[in-house]
């Protein structure tokens, strides 16, 4: 078993991982940049090490420094959290080569699945429907124009190595094809080191349905239910819930079977997520694999009672999953709201100092994952996610009401937050009726 874990990340996820480590008796090493030197979770870790300036290139993204810090502090494992280096094959490789345990799928797997076209081939190869489009990158504007001409406009052009909502371009007609392809390739080359782009057809009014899975080194793969994350803005999730109101038992069984066949084919070990789109006519298409602990994992933990971080650590230590798919019970309903440091009207980021903070009381039905404190700073250098508020209820309406109450009680001053947006969404009749798709927020904004 892992003895001492270095957490190569910042913010709420560090506090989250430390909590499970304490339960398991695993020592923790937190790292921090100059901008995070007063972060509250640094006191909870067994060791906390300054790794560099605010600039993430010299701190949270600096592989050499992170490896040296792990070795110097006697860590035997590295947890990358989400974002930053969490899905970077080169980091996993450096950790493996230093003789440390990497908490996540192997470097080899990470490198392979960083290509969306590779994943589309894998899925198609095990008879899982992918979003219609090309399985391979397109070479020139002419090919793109031909495709659109045959299948109809608009089409999406996606970067093979893109991520985080970046590298998705829409092409509306033939005359744009060459130019958009050129621009997307250039962006991809700069941001992801590859300009390869492939085509996806537009799925109208899609819902985002993802499957959480655990896979161990012994060939076991168990799915922990689905999450619906259709409430998004600029491809950033805002509200996540489980179960999804549209996923039937039959759908669920099929989605689990599909996830398992993809995961086992790839040889993936650890926790991960298969993202799918559901079309308005009820078809599900494989979209991509998220090879990390996801921001919205607490929703699944509430529903199943499974501690996903604990299983990440156990699997990385070589343990076998000791329960079967039939043992996974989904109990009640859970909803998460992400609170961002942004102006609720303009969505302009709002970094600064928290002058006053009062959080609602948490219990077995309300969880708040955060790294906030009074007089604490919210630096302008990193992701705007401030906190995740997660409510559980025996049914959806109960969970929603609990979440609304909690958000109304969430008092934070000194910076602006998206709490008013969260509340507005949760109170919309369409949301309460479960009538949502990925265009939901844009529709609300257009109509208010």
């Amino acid at each position: 078993m892992i003895n001492r874990l270095l957490i190569a990340n910042r913010g709420e996820i560090v506090a989250r991982i430390i909590r499970t480590c304490k339960e398991l008796g695993v020592d923790t090493v937190a790292v921090y940049s100059e901008a995070d030197k007063h972060a509250p979770y640094l006191d909870q870790a067994d060791d906390a090490v300054l790794i560099g300036p605010a600039n993430p290139m010299q701190s949270y993204l600096n592989i050499e420094t992170l490896i040296q810090t792990a070795q110097r502090t006697g860590a035997d494992a590295v947890h990358p959290g989400y974002g930053f280096l969490s899905e970077r094959g080169a980091f996993a490789e450096a950790v493996e080569q230093a003789g440390l345990i990497w908490v996540g799928p192997s470097a080899k797997v990470l490198k392979a699945i960083s290509s969306k076209c590779y994943c589309r081939h894998i899925a198609a190869g095990v008879q899982v429907p992918v979003i219609p489009g090309t399985l391979d990158p397109v070479s020139d504007g002419e090919t793109v124009a031909e495709y659109g001409h045959e299948q109809g406009w608009p089409i999406f052009l996606k970067l093979d190595k893109g991520g985080g909502g970046k590298g998705i371009e829409i092409i509306n007609n033939e005359s744009e094809a060459a130019e958009v392809l050129q621009r997307a390739s250039r962006i991809g080359q700069m941001a992801f080191g590859s300009g390869d782009c492939y085509i996806e057809q537009v799925v109208h009014h899609p819902r985002h349905i993802e499957v959480q899975f655990l896979a161990d080194k012994h060939g076991n793969c168990v799915c922990l239910g689905e999450r619906e994350c259709s409430v998004q803005r600029r491809h950033q999730k805002i509200i996540e819930e489980a179960p999804s109101v549209v996923v039937t038992d039959e759908d669920r069984k099929r989605l689990f079977d599909r996830a398992r066949s993809i995961v086992l084919k790839i040889g993936y070990e650890g926790a991960g997520t298969i993202e799918n789109l559901r079309s308005i006519d009820g078809n599900y298409y494989f979209m991509e694999i998220n090879a990390r602990l996801q921001v919205e994992h607490p929703v699944t933990e509430y529903l199943t009672g499974v501690d996903i971080v604990k299983w990440q650590l156990l699997i990385a230590s070589g343990e076998e999953i000791n329960f079967s798919q039939a043992d996974v019970k989904m109990n009640g309903h859970a909803i998460e709201a992400r609170v961002y440091a942004e102006d609720p009207e303009t969505f302009v980021p709002s970094p600064g100092t928290i002058t006053s903070l009062s959080l609602p009381e948490t219990d077995s039905q309300l969880r708040i994952d955060h790294a906030l404190k009074e007089n604490g700073s919210v630096p302008p250098f990193y992701d705007p996610l401030l906190a995740k508020v997660i409510a559980w209820g025996t049914e959806r309406s109960e969970a929603t009401n609990r979440l609304i109450e909690a958000l109304a009680d969430f008092q934070i001053e000194g910076i602006k937050t998206t709490i008013p947006v969260n509340l507005a969404i949760l109170k919309r009749p369409e949301f309460l009726a479960g009538n949502i798709d990925t265009g939901f927020i844009d529709n609300i904004l257009r109509n208010t």
């Binding site: 600039n55 302009v348 970094p351 302008p380």
Partner: protein, 74 residues
């Protein structure tokens, strides 16, 4: 006389898109700031010529930090 183009948000300098000697017009994009992982364009408030570039990629910025110095008429 000299006029500065300043950071409009705190964050990291993503890039400066002009070079010394460039003619710039009012409203033209001069630099881009990455604030909380979102990019924001910084425009010139003047017509002028770039005299000095003070910021480079990844520099930490506070609101009001000068990023570029312009020589403007008047």
């Amino acid at each position: 006389m000299e006029k500065n183009v300043n950071a409009i948000l705190p964050g990291l300098c993503a890039r400066v898109v002009v070079e010394v000697g460039d003619n710039v017009t009012k409203g033209q994009e001069i630099a881009v700031i990455n604030c909380m992982k979102t990019e924001y364009s910084v425009a010139s408030e003047y017509n002028g010529v770039v005299k000095e570039v003070l910021s480079k990629e990844w520099d930490e910025l506070q609101v009001g930090d000068p990023m570029v110095v312009l020589e403007v008429e008047g």
